[in-house]
């Protein structure tokens, strides 16, 4: 478990499918090295990976910032993208605006935002059409009761 705060950030480039997921993979490795419970690492990795893929698929660029404290894992993704006109609709399972070629790569199932929420203890999303989207994922470490 982290006994002090650890923070950092990754730059994400929209459309860069070669490195898509690399930031989440690196963050997963950091959390594992901190001896955070594998169950929490898995949840954080899934939520982060989905958020990262959304930036790669939809935005021009973005930043993934993380802060790991003894109490929680917090990841904030801020992108320069098209924004989401109707967040409630976007949160619905199965709703996707991804084009066909994205679906052919295995994405665009419309489960990304629901997956982020499902795996977070606290989840916030804020979006401005034409400017971008900010997603905040918090996973609590101390309150984890899962074996």
């Amino acid at each position: 478990m982290a006994d002090k705060n650890i923070e950092g950030s990754f730059h994400l480039t929209g459309g860069d499918f070669t490195n898509a997921g690399a930031a989440s993979s690196e963050l997963k490795s950091i959390m594992t090295k901190l001896n955070i419970s594998p169950h929490l690492v898995r949840r954080a990795a899934i939520a982060t990976f989905e958020a990262e893929m959304n930036v790669i698929i939809h935005a021009v660029a973005g930043v993934m910032y993380y802060l790991i404290t003894p109490d929680s894992i917090k990841v904030v993704l801020n992108d320069m993208g098209p924004g989401i006109p109707d967040i409630q609709q976007a949160m619905r399972e199965g709703y996707s605006t991804a084009p066909d070629w994205i679906r052919e790569m295995g994405w665009g199932a419309g489960m990304g935002l629901p997956n982020m929420k499902k795996n977070s203890d606290e989840f916030r999303i804020d979006s401005v059409v034409g400017e971008g989207t900010t997603v905040e994922i918090i996973i609590k470490i101390k309150e984890d009761k899962t074996p």
């Binding site: 499918f17 997921g21 989905e50 399972e93 790569m105 295995g106 199932a109």
Partner: protein, 119 residues
């Protein structure tokens, strides 16, 4: 069931061996949609059976703690996919079977879904 036994049941060919064939596989996921997989898989140490053949499969497997990926219909992973799997320690298997048959054979042998649903 051990990974070695899985390969035998699926008449699979190992495209990349990253380690222990004696590793115990506890459950199976089968999907071509990566977010479905991330949403529904709840068990670690599972096997992924997929018709999707690209590096995204390996990334997703890594994130979801999947130890081995089976590509159906004789789909061979490309060099980039194999290289990423090597770095991540994920074993790659190719079978000529369809997804339906591959899943059916493993189900008949007693393996369960990674979603945790009842048999």
């Amino acid at each position: 069931m051990t990974l070695g036994k899985v390969i035998e049941v699926l008449e699979g060919e190992v495209a990349l061996n990253t380690g222990d064939m004696e590793i115990e596989i506890l459950s199976v996921c089968s999907s071509d949609l990566m977010s479905d997989l991330l949403h529904f898989s709840s068990k670690p140490r599972s096997l992924l059976i997929t018709g999707l053949n690209n590096t995204q499969v390996v990334r997703t497997a890594e994130i979801a703690d999947i130890k081995a990926v089976v590509f159906v219909l004789d789909k061979r992973p490309d060099r980039e996919t194999v290289e990423m799997a090597r770095q991540k320690g994920i074993t790659l298997i190719v079978t000529r079977l369809s997804r339906f048959t591959a899943c059916g054979r493993l189900y008949a042998e007693g393996l369960v879904s990674c979603t945790g649903e009842n048999r």
